[in-house]
């Protein structure tokens, strides 16, 4: 089962690292601080000048600074260390929390810290005057904190805790405007869909924990790379189950349905959720458990790969038909997550995480840009936008940078990370998947160009006079565009491969193929398809004069309908799962309860009462009568009102029943 090649590679030199010293030891601060801040904001936020936003901002800026320091230390010296706190024992298992400080987690801390800081700054302005402003920052801080609980986890237990806390925070944030039912329904949908996936994760954790006798991730990874027999037998099952969990958070087909609906939340939430927190959790999980997948659970990786490819193509196509700007971006996120999962599935650990890294910056940029537009025009629909490049120059230029980064043109971030994924698919000989991924790049470029043209070009089709957003909103956009340009330079084959070193420096080190130079086939196909996508979209939507008529040109009715209805997945879920459970099964159980079980119980009661009555009148009237009277007197003294409700029959009924029970009991006793 175990890849012999892999074992041989393991024997070669480990990456160099230090224990990280004091900096690593106090990393728990960035995990605990958000929770303290959330409590403070809840109780004292309202009395502060910025209504609590300053506490939230201070927290994420601290996280950003701390993670930047960690990243610097890591890039120069290398850190890999983990810390444990015992919170109880159950049987022979230690329940432990703690924190991991290694390449993978430091990268995530930095992404969470950076994106959160910018989103929080943006939100102080964007959410100005909105309902529950203070509580919004409480939830946002908790959201970032929960994600840190997840990525800092050295045990599967804490991972599960962070995992579900992220889910509940997303529930609070998506449902922020809960006065409207559709918003609270979207929040519920996110929670429940994730909960379904969590069943997989939970059972996966149980399976792995019981076969390895530990909940520590590093120990599980050690056993899975050293040919331990117990984990070997469940590796495939465990791998698939964990991936089901990842499919929920990282929105893989067919569990992606919650993510587009999650747009019901305020835009800063979407930016945070789609870039740094929540959706990256699944990819992170695959990355954290990668030595396990690569070694014993390599068969499970085939499934990971398959779902990744389906997702990247399927969601990309749906993004083409959306009129809601945020939904274009939402399906784009699903599609890009498909790329990351595809990379993981093909065994390209670094490529998957690298795309997570670059995507975090340019997708946050795009969402915040969309928020800036929506803030100005008060609608999400691109059919009511147009021509905004003149009124909103800063939003426009930064949005273009984000678009180019996502479309994968050099030298922007997306080019490098997408190229690595394509190169890895090519290297591994997954020809079909390679072609689909190249096609995906074409689709990505197409729908993004379409969105840009519909939003920023042509004439303005809405009402009022939109104007550029406040500095508090545009400055984060500008900073993020900087990241969207340079983030990809962290890993350039043959030139500088710092990122590879960052994320592979960890205690359970990673062994994988790293290209020495650019894979020309991959680069050429990726680039060409990107340019073709942009060109075609430009031709369809711009050359024709009126941008909105573009859709009509490419509409092939049945396919367009299929995509507009999102492959009828929601319909299917409601018709065949939710409604039957919520209505048919639930009603059946309830009616079974009252019409079968209760009827039986009541029947027995009546019968016993009658039987008791017969015994009573025929056998023991005098004796029992006395007891009965005694008990009524006693009752009266205890509760003076009891007589009002006790019509007299109650006590008789009870007495009869008691006699019935005693008779039955005596019979059984005699049999004994």
């Amino acid at each position: 089962m175990v890849n012999q090649n892999f074992i041989n590679l393991l024997a070669e030199g480990k990456p160099e690292y230090t224990d990280g010293g004091v900096l690593a030891e106090f990393t728990w601060l960035i995990v605990v601080l958000p929770f303290l801040a959330a409590i403070l904001i809840t109780f004292f936020g309202k009395y502060l000048p910025l209504q609590g936003a300053e506490l939230a901002l201070g927290t994420v800026l601290f996280i950003f600074s701390y993670s930047a320091a960690l990243l610097y230390e890591h890039a120069t010296k290398g850190i890999a260390n983990e810390f444990f706190i015992n919170v109880g024992s159950i049987g022979s298992y230690d329940l432990e929390f703690g924190w991991v400080v290694d390449g993978l987690s430091i990268m995530m801390y930095f992404v969470v810290g950076t994106v959160s800081s910018l989103v929080f700054i943006y939100a102080t302005n964007y959410m100005q005057g909105e309902i529950r402003y203070t509580f919004f920052f409480t939830s946002l801080t908790l959201f970032a904190g929960s994600m840190l609980v997840l990525v800092s986890s050295p045990t599967l237990l804490q991972l599960l805790i962070g995992w579900e806390l992220v889910g509940v925070c997303s529930y609070l944030l998506i449902g922020h405007y809960w006065e409207k039912k559709e918003n609270s329904s979207a929040a519920m949908k996110a929670f429940i869909t994730n909960k379904i996936a969590d069943v997989g994760l939970m059972i996966g954790i149980i399976v792995l924990a019981l076969s390895t006798k530990t909940l520590r991730i590093s120990e599980i990874l050690y056993q899975s790379t050293h040919d331990y027999a117990d984990i070997k037998t469940v590796a495939y099952l465990g791998g698939v189950l964990l991936f089901i969990g990842a499919m929920g958070k990282s929105a893989q087909f067919p569990l992606h349905v919650w993510l587009p609906d999650a747009m019901a939340g305020p835009t800063p939430v979407s930016a945070l959720m789609h870039a740094a927190t929540m959706v990256t959790a699944g990819v992170y999980l695959l990355g954290r458990m990668f030595p396990f997948y690569q070694g014993m659970a390599s068969q499970a990786l085939d499934i990971v790969l398959l779902f990744g490819v389906i997702t990247l193509l399927g969601a990309g196509l749906v993004a083409v038909v959306q009129d809601d700007l945020k939904k274009v971006l939402a399906y784009s996120t699903v599609s890009q997550l498909g790329y990351m999962v595809t990379a993981m599935g093909s065994g390209a650990y670094t490529a998957g995480l690298f795309h997570l890294w670059t995507h975090a910056f340019f997708k946050a940029l795009l969402f915040l840009g969309a928020g800036s537009v929506i803030h100005a025009v008060h609608t999400n629909n691109m059919s009511e936008m147009g021509g905004l490049r003149k009124e909103m120059p800063r939003t426009f230029s930064t949005f273009i940078i984000g678009t180019v980064a996502l479309a994968g043109l050099p030298p922007l971030a997306g080019f490098f990370s997408k190229d690595e994924i394509l190169a890895s698919l090519n290297h591994e000989g997954h020809n079909l998947y390679f072609i689909i991924s190249v096609l995906g790049a074409f689709i990505t470029a197409f729908y993004m160009t379409r969105a840009v043209l519909l939003t920023f070009f042509g004439d303005y089709r809405g009402d009022g006079h939109p104007h550029e957003s406040d500095k508090m909103m545009t400055i984060p956009l500008i900073i993020l565009s900087g990241f969207a340009i340079v983030a990809g330079w962290a890993n350039i084959p043959g030139v500088y491969t710092g990122f590879t070193k960052w994320v592979t420096t960890r205690k359970n080190y990673i062994v994988e193929y790293h290209p020495e130079s650019f894979d020309l086939v991959a680069m050429f196909s990726g680039l060409t398809s990107g340019l073709l996508g942009i060109g075609l979209a430009y031709y369809v939507y711009q050359m024709s004069g009126n941008a909105t008529d573009g859709d009509e040109k490419i509409k092939i009715k049945p396919i367009w309908n299929l995509l507009e209805n999102k492959y009828y997945l929601d319909f299917f879920y409601f018709k065949f799962i939710i409604d039957p459970v919520k209505i048919t099964f639930a009603k059946f159980v309830d009616s079974f309860n009252s019409n079968v079980l209760d009827r039986f119980v009541n029947g027995v009661g009546t019968t016993a009462s009658k039987a008791g009555g017969i015994v009573y009148t025929n056998l023991d009237q005098g004796g029992i009568d006395k007891v009965l009277n005694l008990s009524s007197t006693g009752t009266d003294t205890i509760g003076s009102k009891v007589k009002l409700i006790q019509t007299g029959k109650t006590q008789q009924y009870l007495m009869y029943f008691l006699i019935g029970v005693i008779v039955i009991s005596l019979i059984i006793l005699l049999v004994l």
Partner: protein, 519 residues
């Protein structure tokens, strides 16, 4: 032998105070309330002292108890003591009683009568505390039965007066009347059988009612064959009714719906635990061979209970009835843990019992209070509660999250660890049955999240309905907050630091499992 003074005070102080309260004239309401609160606080204080004296390094041993001859003709003794299994439940019981009394200061439903209610709570507390410390079967039985009457009266006198129709009965009947009789008769039915089981053990087991002695006998294989099967069967009936396990649960939704707030709180928080505690304290260690034989059946019934309870919740329109049915599901997890017969599973059951006591207790506090404010429990009429009663709404939302087993809060451990236990039950048990039960339980967690979130959507979120806009509605007052906030804090503390419970239970459970099942 130690004096057992502390535990004796914890058990009998409430009863003595209840008698004392009988002597206070009914008019002196404040005095009655203060005496009750003082007594409950003192009881709680003594139980804390007992906990401090408790030797956690030997949590598997029965401690701080005594054994005094009681009914010598049948060799029944006043034998009490606690170990790591009973200690958390005892503390829960003394603590919840205090909160219930604080809540009752201002929130007595019609017909008020503080004297009656306060003395009933105290009598109930003696029964509950006594059950958790009793180490003699007759003593256990007396306490176990003692809780019936106060609860019966609470439901019957302070309960819901509306008249409803009941399937199988010809005439309509008052909700509280039907519920109180059903509760009483159902439980009595179970415990009559239980007593039979106790008698059986007595006659076969060298004429002793002492639980520790019977455990010694049981683990050396004294009870076998048809006899043991029958005894386990009747004990099962007695305990399963109380838990309640499917399909013996039908008294529960009615009792909870009809009961006054304090009644439902105590019922959910403590009374249900008497049954599951009985399994762990008596049925499992005394009849280990039978426990193994019955375990798969218990696992299946628990799994059915989890799914059935959750589905029933989805169909409810009555807020309190929904929470009542949720207990069927949650106690299903507790019983699933117990049925695995492993130290993980039984630990899960222990923390599950405490967590359910805290969380569902709080849910009944909040929902009862809401029913009182709105004069309806119909979720179709509620809505926008977050706007109308923001404090109550926030606590309801928090508690619902805790109830759905959110990690980081108390409810998580019982659920997750029960599933963990069920995946690998005691060697020799049918793996397929247990793993299927585990999967059913895991699906149950999704359904649980479903009905609780749906409840929140219907009750808490949205805009308030028109009928409430011109009404003056009072949000939680100080008495309510004082009763509720400690439970919120406990939910978080146990969630973050489960050692608070496992620290006591783990060694005791390991000792129990290794003695009974050698595992």
């Amino acid at each position: 032998m130690e004096s057992g003074l502390g535990l004796t005070i914890v058990v009998f102080l409430p009863l003595v105070s209840a008698i004392f309260i009988f002597l206070i004239p009914k008019k002196q309401e404040m005095l009655i309330k203060l005496v009750t609160l003082g007594s409950a606080l003192l009881t709680f204080g003594v139980s804390l002292i007992v906990a401090l004296q408790f030797d956690f390094y030997n949590a598997g041993d029965l401690q701080l108890g005594t054994k005094v001859s009681w009914i010598s003709s049948i060799n029944s003794n006043y034998e009490i003591g606690i170990d790591g299994i009973s200690l958390p439940l005892l503390l829960l019981s003394t603590f919840i009683s205090v909160l219930a009394i604080i809540y009752s200061f201002e929130h007595l439903p019609e017909p008020k009568n503080a004297k009656g209610m306060m003395s009933l709570i105290l009598i109930l507390e003696t029964g509950m505390n006594g059950t958790f410390v009793a180490l003699d079967l007759i003593l256990f039985f007396v306490f176990f039965e003692l809780v019936l009457l106060p609860m019966y009266f609470m439901i019957g006198i302070w309960g819901d007066k509306t008249v409803r129709s009941v399937s199988g009965l010809k005439n309509d009947i008052e909700t509280r009347l039907y519920a109180s009789i059903k509760f009483f008769v159902f439980t009595l039915f179970g415990s009559a059988f239980m007593l039979l089981g106790f008698l059986g053990l007595y006659f076969r087991g060298n004429r002793t009612f002492s639980i520790p002695e019977l455990i010694e006998l049981g683990s050396s294989g004294a009870f076998t064959g048809t006899f043991a099967t029958l005894v386990f069967a009747v004990l099962f009936l007695g305990f399963a009714v109380k838990v309640p396990m499917w399909p013996l649960h039908t008294w529960l939704p009615d009792a909870h719906t009809a009961a006054p707030t304090v009644g439902s709180v105590l019922l959910a928080a403590i009374l249900l635990k008497l049954g599951s505690y009985g399994f762990v304290r008596i049925a499992l260690p005394i009849l280990p061979e039978q426990a193994v034989a019955w375990a798969p059946a218990i696992a299946v019934l628990s799994a059915i209970g989890i799914i059935y309870g959750s589905l029933a919740c989805l169909a409810q329109t009555d807020l309190k009835r929904l929470i009542a049915f949720s207990s069927v599901g949650h106690m299903g997890f507790v019983m699933l843990g117990i049925s695995s017969l492993t130290s993980i599973g039984i630990n899960a059951a222990m923390i599950g019992m405490v967590a359910h006591g805290i969380i569902t207790g709080l849910l009944f506090f909040v929902s009862g209070s809401m029913a009182h404010t709105y004069h309806t429990r119909d979720m179709g009429r509620l809505g926008g509660n977050m706007k109308l009663l923001p404090k109550t709404g926030a606590i309801l939302a928090f508690t619902a999250m805790a109830s759905l087993g959110l990690p980081g809060l108390a409810g998580f451990w019982g659920e997750f660890m029960a599933l963990l236990g069920a995946y690998n039950p005691l060697p020799g048990l049918n793996i397929t049955i247990f793993r299927s039960s585990m999967v059913a339980g895991a699906i149950g967690t999704v359904l649980t999240a479903g009905y609780l979130l749906w409840m929140l959507q219907r009750v808490n979120l949205g805009e308030p309905k028109e009928e409430w806009l011109d009404k003056e509605l009072h949000d939680a007052d100080n008495y309510e907050l004082v009763a509720w906030i400690p439970l919120v804090i406990l939910t978080v503390l146990i969630g973050v630091f489960p050692k608070l419970i496992f620290g006591a239970t783990n060694d005791a459970v390991i000792a129990l499992v290794s003695k009974a099942f050698g595992g």
